[in-house]
Amino acid sequence: MLLAHGIGGRQDLPIPFSAALTGAVLALLVSFVALGTLWKDARLGGDLRAARLLPAAVRRAVRSRAWPWVWRIAGLVAAAYFCVGLIFGPDVADNPTAGAFYVLFWVGLVPLSLLFGPVWRGLSPLRTLHLLACAALRRDPALGLRRTPPGLGYWPACAGLFAFVWLELVAPERATLPVIGIWLAIYVVIMLAGAVVFGAKWFGHADPFEVYSDLVGRLAPVTRRADGLLVWRNSLDGMAGLRPAPGLTVLVVLLLGSTMYDSASNAPTWVRIVQDAPVPAPVMGTAGLVAVIGLVFAAYRAATALAGRWGAAEPGSTAGELAHSIVPIAVGYVIAHYYTLFLLEGQRTVALLSDPLNTGANWLGTAGWTIKALGTTPAGIATLQVTVIVVGHVLGTVLAHDRALALFPRRTAVLGQIPLLVLMVIYTLVGLLLLFAA
């Protein structure tokens, strides 16, 4: 992401060819090992009956009545603080709003969700406002005016996520307050209006940040079991618990495709194409974003259709059933792409947050922060980038393998996995290639 006004001013160096090559070889190796030597019966995504409980003190704290309200209030306070800079701050490079929105919030949502699960449901100020309004009117927040249509699924969230990545990666003047303000105003109106019509579950269908946090949060090592108890779990079990729903495939493809576009759009070749084109840059950017997401989607549909045919699965089931296996690949790529931005630009944003009105204030005591490298050497960054991409690939491959065993009869299970492995190897190689070349 390169926004005007200096956000993301520094970008990572292209990774060395040796690192990209090592990652590619590893990804290939892991794929074949997975096909040949992993287990022969589907075993992920179980009911966690034997899971180890978290310490009693933690469980008690989480079960207390105060717990959800602590986080709701934290979400409200943070949102209110964010609005100070957004509404009353001057529209200058030292306003923390763009950094707080794109870096601390959007990128920061990934590590938070990876560690603690679906955090945005608990923090969302819009959910809290809806809850409070319902309490004041003595209405049940779960009830709306209408029932949600059966085919709704993740489609509203897909639209919201596309709107967000377009804002983040393409929109002109995207780091300025009016643009961020208008986008957020539309988001708030659609979220709250939908919640009035369909009840609080609208947020789970439509809030792009909540759906994103829910998806990534499935990889968290802790979860609340069906009986309400907090347990440790295998991240793979969490991810395998994601069930097909309308729009799910497009949603996961959006995550991977938009990040790949962000990389690709940085390549000098693409810059030249955009600047030589007769149409304005945002038009080219939109076309590029749609094209990359479209390619990722086409590859996914083709591979899963072929896998379904070769593996003799129930027709039409493979695309949705395997969508969960793309999430770790997308998350690995997001981390590889954004973690230095989060570390470095995040520090700058925290410093700026002390003075959202640009009056020389130091409300949080962080105004004097200078950006520290925090161990981000070029070699270290490249190593981490390749490592997280390969880890994502490994998790995706294992998840796809496990699901294939459930989808395909034993006789065709190996054959059916080949297109899936090829797809994942392609995603991973493209990811590495983009880090190397773009």
Binding site: L13, S18, A19, N234, T377
Partner: protein, 126 residues
């Protein structure tokens, strides 16, 4: 909780070994290019005319610690900006403006104009 079955452990071990390999290879790549302050200053000349950048935008590599001297000539009034280093120069039509600084941070930095929103080049500091 299902523990990682023994069958995952072997591939995982293979993978960790590989990760160590990545670390080793990229570390070698890093140490072979020492920061050099004695390299001569890097002169970069860019012309903007009719919304076109000459030479075409590409990547220009410098060594960490090297001095970078950028000369920009534009046919319209504008502002040139080096991202990350946050160096700026205001451009008057037809008059070359220069930006000079020591590239002391590694990374990739875009150099662009503000009004016409053109990318001039990407500065790669290793």
């Amino acid at each position: 909780m299902r523990h990682a079955p023994a069958r995952i452990r072997r591939p995982l071990a293979t993978f960790l070994l590989g990760a160590a390999l990545v670390m080793a290879t990229s570390a070698c790549g890093g140490s072979s290019t020492p920061a050099s302050a004695d390299a001569p200053p890097k002169d970069i000349t860019v012309t903007i005319a009719g919304g076109k950048v000459t030479p075409e935008p590409g990547r220009i590599e410098v060594t960490k610690g090297q001095t970078v001297r950028i000369k920009v000539t534009s046919d319209v009034a504008d502002e040139a900006h080096v991202h990350g280093y946050d160096k700026e120069a205001s451009l008057q039509p037809g008059t070359p403006a220069s930006i000079e600084f020591v590239a002391d941070e590694t990374g990739l930095f875009e150099v662009e104009t503000h009004e016409t929103e053109l990318q001039l080049f990407q500065l790669v500091v290793r």
